[in-house]
């Protein structure tokens, strides 16, 4: 049987939010090749913005050239790409006093053949909507998550914690960074959502699921609705969302009634 050829619809929105002066998140999506990357910078004096931008650019540049050359994406490829980005951010942080302590989270999804490769560092997340159900596919590198897993506090209480934002890992913070990776099989109508914590801190997962499921046929509207709701709920942090919708059929270019009537493009 000939393997299915998937194609991808993508959209992204990145917003400063209602409180912070700068948007230190980064985002890139590519529908033709099927990838999305979200980064969330940290560190004062605009260093977070730099760390996030450096991470994004490094990953996207590498993705771009590898996919153009037909390189197979693998866990090794991802580890290397993240290690290179990590070194770049770290060496800049160490060279310049006012950039010391800067770092960036990362969430990335890359589709190739029948697979989607997911990777993340820090507390940026990847969700998947499948059959109307939203599933969190990543586990935050955060103190609060460790506490929940050790049974120190209930998951329900985690959102009340003042430790929500203590990430235990970010690119640029140490010589080595551990990337969490997983590989999933592509399925028609799956929607992958990558986001910075400005979304999931403000908006409950039920509402995220509801919006993505109801509006997924227009991803731009979906992304705008998610960001809008996060802002309506306070918008305390930068909010970034990237969406990939998997389709196994080529989209029909709908013609207007005039062109249908006359059988040619109007």
């Amino acid at each position: 049987m000939k393997p299915k050829a998937f194609h991808f619809e993508v959209a992204s929105v990145s917003d400063r939010g209602r409180v912070r002066a700068l948007n230190e998140d980064g985002v890139a999506v590519d529908g033709e090749r099927g990838f999305a990357v979200v980064t969330d910078g940290m560190g004062g004096h605009r260093a977070g913005d730099l760390a996030s931008r450096m991470t994004l650019e490094s990953i996207v540049r590498r993705l771009d050239s590898s996919l153009r050359q037909g390189t197979s994406i693998s866990s090794q490829w991802i580890s290397e790409a993240v290690a290179i980005a990590n070194t770049a951010v770290r060496s800049t942080a160490q060279r310049q006093q006012n950039h010391s302590g800067m770092g960036s989270t990362l969430a990335m999804a890359v589709c190739q053949d029948q697979k989607i490769f997911l990777a993340h560092v820090g507390d940026s997340r990847i969700y998947r909507l499948r059959g109307g159900r939203l599933e969190l596919l990543t586990r935050d590198d955060s103190i609060i998550n460790d506490q929940v897993e050790m049974g120190m506090i209930d998951a329900d209480d985690a959102s009340d914690s003042h430790n929500r934002h203590f990430v235990t890992q970010a690119l640029g913070m140490a010589d080595k960074v551990t990337v969490h990776m997983r590989e999933e099989t592509l399925r028609d109508e799956d929607v992958y959502l990558l986001c910075s914590d400005g979304l999931n801190d403000m908006v409950g997962e039920q509402d995220i699921a509801c919006i993505v499921d109801a509006l997924k046929t227009n991803l731009k509207v979906t992304a705008e609705h998610l960001v809008q709701l996060a802002n309506d709920c306070g918008g305390y942090d930068n909010i970034t969302v990237a969406l990939i919708r998997v389709r196994d059929e080529v989209p029909v270019v709908r013609q207007g009634w005039l062109s249908r009537l006359f059988g040619r493009a109007a």
Binding site: G44, Q228, G234
Partner: protein, 223 residues
Amino acid sequence: MAKLVLSRDGKVVNHYFLDKPSFSIGRNADNDIALDDAQLDPIEFSVIKVGNDAIVEGATGAGKARVNGKPLARQILQHLDVIDLGKYQLRYMSSGTVSDADFDRTMLIQTVRSPDAGGAPVVLGMGSAATEKVKLREGSVEFLSGPAAWTAGKIIPLERVVTTFGDPGEKLIVLTRRPHGIFVSHVEGPKLPRVNGETITSPHVLKVGDLIEGAGYKLKLAS
């Protein structure tokens, strides 16, 4: 720094800064906060510090302590929570939460090496204000006409944050609940929705009684 303020019969007796990893509270004299109340257990409960959080935990699970009137269960204390022990009350005060919060949450204030050499550094950030629970505008719509005849005259409440009408992939409009109103917007399809006969090109806030036409439906905002 966070502290527990001890009071008895409404009078403040003492302050205890939470300056170590764990605090025990109870009748025994070797507790960090020892209370002379025979009704209490030898160790009634503990407070454990984790980063910016203080977590309370009952020693036996059968204690008398109540937090804000509810039996003490393992939980994160919030600024101004009151732990009632009968004769005594403890109020949790945490200066690092709401008023002092720096919203710039990812700003790093400290990088600490974990004790094992070569271990990944632990990154500490600032706490942020708790997620604000917002109230979205409530409302309902009446079906005036639609693809299915049975829906005519039916009124449905807008329960979810978004409610769509139409056929996904073909034509679709959405009603969105926001704090300051219910909005209608176009999702997809060749025709834009209309409100009271006027075509709308961007999300449009609705008033009760507005007539909405789109994606094959005629609806009225009923409340």
